[in-house]
Amino acid sequence: MSAAASPDYEMVVGLEVHVQLKTRTKAFCGCSADFGAPPNTNVCPVCLALPGALPVLNQHAVELALRAALALDCKVNATSVFARKNYFYPDLPKGYQISQYDRPLAEKGWLTIGELDDGTPVRVGITRVHMEEDAGKSVHDRYAGATAIDLNRAGVPLIEIVSEPDMRSAAEAGAYLRLLKQILSYSGVSDVSMEEGSLRVDANVSARIRGATQLGTKTEVKNMNSFSAVERALDSEFARQVALLESGGTVTQQTMLWDGAKGETRASRTKEESHDYRYFPEPDLPPLVLDMEWVGRVGRAIPELPDARRKRMIGEYELSAADAELLTASAGMSEYFEAVARASLDPKAALNWVMGEVSAAVNAAGVRIDEFPVRPADLGELLRMVREDVVSHTAAKRVFARMVETGKPAAQVAAEEGLQKVGDDAALVEWIDEVLRENPAEAARYKSGETKLQGVLVGLVMKKSKGRADPRKVNQLLSERARV
């Protein structure tokens, strides 16, 4: 080792994740929380901050926030307090955001994101989970020289999940985010779509010499629109900080914006740090006092989380760890698989179909699995038909394609398309004879004892029958014809 070698730096990352809760209505009024409505149509006196309007807390938002907190093993506070975060911005109608400050909904949780080679779990601490409301949207590129404001999103319920600075690489941050997304999706808390803005990530990142116990000066990185953008931004920002430190400079605490096109972070022009939000308890809402028995019921009602589901599936369906991992990447896909496995009584076939045909078709259609036209029960029926020899494997793929197009049940498609297996001797003999007539040379060689041609001829018969012929019977009948 050379004495001049630069010290080994370590990345330290903490993440702040904002997640839109999957409620029908907004956090403090009855307006629809749907995404994509025409601008300023999901608004009312409360979310427009008209004089005299008052907020009323959406109980479903509390339940979803609690689910998230409990799924992240947080300690839920029996009493939490809403607070006003004051700042002026045109898409913030009240001039303050209703949030939680010194008494959040829940604190001190954790998420296990993997394990070290020696089996030690890698845990990321969750500092807090608190409830707040979203702001509206400022649209800068719609009208020349003017900013348009859309307040449909104003007042949509959010939770902010703040992690401890426990991640040591971009990959760990990525693993944390993917797992967090899975958990929030599994527990029905959120749609967790970065494209639709229902999940947003800000990262606090700093660099320090490996082994140091003090944290370095951090910067906050914003404007990342995907998990891979987060990973790239972290690597880029870390490299920038290390370069600064190695050249004898110091890191300035500031907000950095990720520029995905250039692949670099640059300092934000707005001095966020100079904001004084003048937090104080929200006088329009009494403290949120939770019935801890109800909290217990909410916890018990949380759907099975990914880790538990992986373990159970491996045992119940004899899946490999890798297959279980792939299947449980999305809650919807694993639920779909289970339903198919149960309906078909054939987990192996269910796995092959779900990972193969179903994934391909879902991806091709660009839909979510819960919007996929082939219901798991119908696919289960198709697999049962295959096992019971009602349709051939080849025909089954065509039946499936028609089911994707029409959404009709398997039996109906097979009947309509004439794709059931044909086991009727007369029909099979007719096809066999046609094949033998059309291929006289092969027919002659076969009849003269060249039995290795059997496969070729069966294939031709299958083709002629459009996959409907029962291959077992074709084999048998073909051998009989050769002896004639």
């Binding site: 807390l57 002026f88 001039g95 003048r278 006088p283 329009d284």
Partner: protein, 501 residues
């Protein structure tokens, strides 16, 4: 069906009769709601309620009010329940949202602003047959004690037009005192109903925090604000409060406590009632005429069988400083929504968004509102929060504890002067701090959330003097009981079996 007999001649007279009589006449068809409405508007014209004189109203709509009144007549004709305030003309303070007239809060920043929804209290009034005849003048955003802070000129006191009617509900108090309406809505943050009631010689009630919905009341200090009623008599005030009180799903701070029938306290008598006389409310420097009238009232209490007990509320001296930290802090946040973006005044600027905010708010808000926003922003700022806002909240808790302690000691209600002085002349009080001291006896009830009311108890040099009755949380019935008794005693009327000692 026989049309009800027209009685236009009696309508003007009816306005000077108790509400129960008005309502009974309307229900029996002896008076038409439209005649009562006409009488109210005629009285306003006669007495000079316009901006050149008393300047009571910021908006009136005679045509719509008359239409509403005719609608009520149709209801009564079909024998449908017209409500407990059938046909009663009511004036509403301009910081309470109404559909048919602007809601400006006495501010330029909301000039011409018409709310697309109506306050819960206004809906309750209408559902009970009341007819809203106008929106009353007020100190801008309810910040003031004289109605001189209105952007639309001061209201004058009908008792003496050289003097202020008090504030901030000065327009509502003047409307009642001038005989235009029997009932008006005001709002309180630190005495804004009781102080003008006292200055104008009428009854003003500030209910328990949470007793009345704040939905549609434009917020000033959200943890202190309550809608209150102004009336000529205790009974009218009781009827009015009963109509507007009650839990509201649109206000999370409204309480789910049943609303009693306050007017049933009318004949309950005073025997056995323990009246606390807190020494902090009777300082050496109190106007001697006011002190004298208070003593007369306390004597009347004793004569009718109540016990008067000297008590102490030791943290009273802090109520003004605490109030002037908490209320402006909340106001600085509540008034942030007036930013020129969505409604109200917008003053364009060459300097972009920040310039527009500054120009709009600088032109839209008057000096007192600006002062309080600055004060409130300061006390919430990083580095000052603990020393001011947090400290004030701790002291506020001590003030509330004073009330709990004194009521737990067996005192039913407290009796105090409402204000340290009678109505002063327009322009006489120039120093903001001196103006703030007008609230010295009233602000604690808002800080503690307890109900309090002012009733006329006499006069000082020809000017009305108000006495204040303060009760425990949601104990409005005992407050009204004490008020009914005192009102009767001062009028020289006795209940059967009651005799002067």
């Amino acid at each position: 069906m026989k049309p009800p007999p027209r009685a236009p001649a009696s309508a003007a007279k009816l306005l000077s009769r108790p509400l129960t009589e008005c309502v009974a006449c309307v229900r029996e068809g002896a008076a038409l709601p439209s005649d009562l409405v006409s009488a109210a508007f005629d009285r306003a014209d006669d007495i000079g309620a316009g901006s050149e004189s008393l300047n009571v109203f910021l908006a009136t709509d005679r045509e719509r009010a008359t239409e509403h009144a005719k609608g009520l007549t149709a209801l009564i004709g079909r024998a449908e329940a017209p409500g407990n305030l059938a046909g009663v003309p009511v004036a509403v303070k301009d910081n309470i949202a109404t559909l048919d007239m602007p809601t400006t809060c006495g501010s330029r920043i909301l000039e011409g602003y018409v709310s697309p929804f109506e306050a819960t209290v206004v809906r309750r009034l209408r559902a009970n047959g009341a007819v809203i005849i106008g929106k009353t003048n007020m100190d801008e955003f309810a910040m003031g004690s004289s109605t001189e802070n209105s952007a639309y000129g001061p209201t004058r006191n009908p008792v003496d037009i050289r003097r202020v009617p008090g504030g901030s509900s000065g327009g509502s108090a003047a409307a009642v005192a001038a005989g235009i309406v029997r009932l008006a809505l005001g709002s309180e943050t630190g005495g804004s109903v009781r102080q003008p009631a006292s200055f104008c010689g009428i009854v003003g009630v500030k209910p328990t925090y949470g007793r009345v919905s704040r939905y549609g009341l434009v917020a000033f200090g959200s943890s202190l604000d309550q809608v209150g009623v102004l009336a000529r008599t205790v009974e009218d005030a009781a009827l009015g409060l009963e109509v507007i009180a009650g839990c509201d799903q649109f206000d999370s701070t409204s309480a789910d406590v049943p609303v009693p029938r306050y007017e049933l306290e009318k004949n309950a008598g005073l025997k056995g009632l323990v009246i606390g006389k807190p020494r902090e409310y009777f300082p050496e420097r109190l106007d001697p005429r006011i002190a004298q009238e208070c003593e007369r009232a306390l004597d009347a209490y004793r004569e009718l069988g109540a016990e008067v007990r000297e008590v102490s509320l030791p943290h009273t001296a802090y109520s003004i400083p605490v109030y002037y930290i908490v209320a402006p802090a909340e106001a600085s946040s509540n008034l942030a929504r007036f930013d020129g973006v969505r409604y109200g005044l917008r003053v364009p600027s060459e300097r972009g968004l920040a310039g527009m905010y500054e120009a709009t708010r600088a032109r839209g808000f008057g000096p007192e509102v600006t002062r309080r926003i600055l004060l409130g922003t300061y006390v919430l700022s990083a580095g000052y929060y603990d020393a001011y806002y947090k400290k004030a909240q701790s002291v506020r808790a001590l003030i509330a504890q004073d009330f709990r302690d004194v009521f737990a000691s067996g005192v039913d209600v407290l009796f105090t002067p409402t204000t340290p002085t009678p109505a002063f002349e327009l322009g006489a009080v120039k120093d903001p701090y001196e103006m703030y001291v007008s609230d010295i006896f009233t602000a604690s009830a808002n800080l503690a959330g307890v109900p309090a009311m002012s009733i006329p108890i006499g006069d000082a040099r020809g000017l009305p003097v108000g006495g204040q009755i303060i009760a425990p949380h949601f104990a409005e019935p005992v407050m009204f009981r004490a008020a009914f008794g005192l009102e009767r005693a001062l009028a020289g009327e006795l209940l059967p079996g009651e005799k002067s000692a």
